[in-house]
């Protein structure tokens, strides 16, 4: 394992210390329980928006804390859900009396830990609502399974809901908005290589030179299918097809297209994939109204990418365009 780290156990704490030093104008990092909080939290008269999950997905979620997006993020150990103490501390830190919305990616661990935190917060008299993202079309959605994973859409949802919260929306409105965004978006990812968890020291799975994993999540877990390495155009088609079918997206739809890198794939390849995505959507009469391209929800050093499509209307587009000022996303100020 070759990484720019000291001891594997200290990676998360040291990286967060670096973040805190770098972005003291935007965020502060509270230790024990570990929480990344917007520097000026709580914001009077604003619903608090919190999220969290295992670390190793940087910049998500800590990089999205700031004006117009999250009020706090709870970073777990690498690929491990945070514990309820963290979400409770985050909730307390951001609550301004109008309640707190938890944005939770659908993983058993995340869901249960946030659920326990919500019970504890409720016992303290803080109004908490929860929205679970489950946009990953690689996983069949059945009442007999843990359901679909929350992946790329989470980034877009946090931006959009964060903008609405900044504009003063109440908890019920924000919850409904988040549910709507979740309903209107779908994702699918692939890996060229596995990733290496520092504490494990070797890649999570072996992926021979000529093979790729299709339908991966964001935790270095193997995907749904292993297929032969193919040209970018074919890989793009394999990612897009199940996304379009699932919602389904239709001719005339306007979308936000998000090409996300898994951490080890350089930008030049992501732009190349964006071109493929654009071609495939154009051929189906789907119009890309907004786009996001880059490493935003990653799996450590995994090489690969994911596509997320979110159907846009004017309202969602305005919320997407609204100013945001966080370590990882900033525009409009």
């Amino acid at each position: 394992m070759k990484k720019l780290i000291n001891a594997p156990d200290d990676v998360v704490a040291e990286a967060l210390a670096g973040m805190a030093l770098a972005h003291a104008d935007l965020i502060r990092v509270q230790p024990d329980p570990l929480v990344i909080v917007r520097a000026d939290a709580p914001i009077a008269n604003k619903v608090g928006i919190i999220s969290g999950g295992g670390s190793g997905h940087e910049p998500m979620h800590g990089g999205f804390v700031g004006r117009g997006m999250l009020d706090a993020a709870c970073p777990g150990h690498i690929f491990t859900s945070p514990v309820p103490d963290q979400m409770l501390a985050a909730t307390r830190a951001v609550d301004a009396g109008r309640g707190v919305l938890q944005i939770v990616k659908n993983y058993t661990g995340d869901v249960m830990n946030f659920e326990m935190a919500a019970e504890l917060a409720a016992a303290e008299g803080i109004e908490v609502a929860t929205v679970i993202t489950n946009d990953d079309v690689a996983v069949e959605n059945s009442t007999w399974t843990a359901g679909r994973r929350g992946v790329g859409l989470t980034v877009l949802l946090e931006k959009i809901v964060g903008a609405a919260a900044e504009a003063g929306a109440d908890l019920a409105t924000l919850t409904a908005l988040a549910q709507r965004v979740n309903a209107e978006g779908r994702s699918m990812g692939m890996a060229l290589t596995s990733c290496t968890v520092p504490n494990v020291g070797r890649p999570g799975f072996d992926l021979p030179e000529g093979e790729i994993e299709l339908g991966i999540g964001i935790h270095g877990e193997p995907g749904r299918y292993r297929v032969a390495l193919a040209p970018a155009a074919e890989i793009a088609a394999m990612l897009v097809a199940p996304i379009l079918e699932d919602l389904p997206f239709q001719r005339g739809d306007q979308v936000l297209a998000f090409v996300n890198g898994m951490g080890g794939t350089p930008l030049i390849e992501l732009y190349l994939m964006y071109r493929e995505l654009h071609k495939l959507l154009a051929a189906r009469g789907i119009h890309i109204r907004r786009q996001l391209i880059g490493n935003y929800i990653t799996s450590l050093d995994m090489a690969g990418c994911s596509f997320t499509l979110l159907r846009l209307d004017d309202h969602l587009t305005q919320l997407w365009d609204a100013p945001v000022l966080t370590p990882a996303l900033r525009w409009g100020h």
């Binding site: 329980p33 295992g54 777990g76 150990h77 690498i78 690929f79 491990t80 859900s81 945070p82 514990v83 309820p84 103490d85 993983y107 058993t108 661990g109 249960m112 830990n113 659920e115 326990m116 690689a138 996983v139 069949e140 007999w144 399974t145 843990a146 994973r149 968890v197 504490n199 494990v200 999570g204 799975f205 999540g217 935790h219 270095g220 877990e221 193997p222 749904r224």
Partner: protein, 210 residues
């Protein structure tokens, strides 16, 4: 035969030792069908539990188990943190302020723990989880006890069933937890949570046997 509070402390210590010893094995099992952290998660939690045990060393069994449960909830994270945390909490609540417990109390504690896991995890048997090791273990222990067998022997019968349950997860298709994302590819691998549950059961039998 009865189990005293200091036996319970010894049991928890033995679990911590066993989890540390099998940390990499558990993580390896999790790498195959999960996210390669199960051993790390539990070891992190039980290491903190060890540092907390002295504060409850002279307390009743319920207090000890609840302290373990809260510590696991606050330190493990992932799916196994809330699940094992809830299990120990519920067991502690059922046992309450007893200083010694017998087979009947154990059955009550086990069943409360299992129910805690099932309601927190919204899961049942046959989904390739820790439940598939725990539930048959409890059933066998209970059956043996009601056949009039001695506590240790009954626990040993429970352990055999628990181990069989753990092994029975290998051919199962996962429908809960991370392994479920793999669909058919989850088949052929032993569930890490079922394995850690078996390690805990083994630690209990060994403690009682001593």
């Amino acid at each position: 035969m009865h189990i005293t509070a200091d036996r319970i402390i010894a049991f928890v210590e033995r679990v911590a030792t066993s989890i540390k010893a099998e940390r990499d094995y558990l993580t390896q099992l999790d790498a195959a069908i999960g996210d390669a952290d199960h051993g790390l998660n539990l070891d992190r939690g039980f290491s903190v539990v060890l540092t907390k045990l002295p504060t409850v060393a002279d307390k009743d069994i319920g207090t000890i188990l609840k302290a373990v449960g809260t510590t696991l909830v606050s330190t493990v994270g992932g799916a196994s943190g809330p699940l094992y945390g809830t299990a120990f909490l519920r067991a502690g609540m059922v046992i309450g302020d007893r200083q010694t417990i017998g087979a009947i109390n154990l059955i009550g504690a086990f069943e409360a723990a299992l129910e805690g896991i099932q309601s927190r995890g919204k899961s049942g048997r046959g989904e390739k989880t820790m439940i598939d090791a725990i539930a048959p273990g409890i059933e066998a222990f209970k059956a043996a006890h009601f056949r009039g067998i001695d506590l240790l022997e009954a626990l040993e019968e429970g352990l055999v069933a628990c181990e069989a349950g753990m092994q029975a997860t290998i051919p199962m298709l996962a429908t809960k937890g991370r392994a479920s994302y793999l669909g058919e590819r989850s088949i052929g691998h032993q569930d890490p949570g079922a394995t850690s549950a078996y390690l805990m059961a083994k630690a209990l039998v060994e403690t009682v046997r001593m």
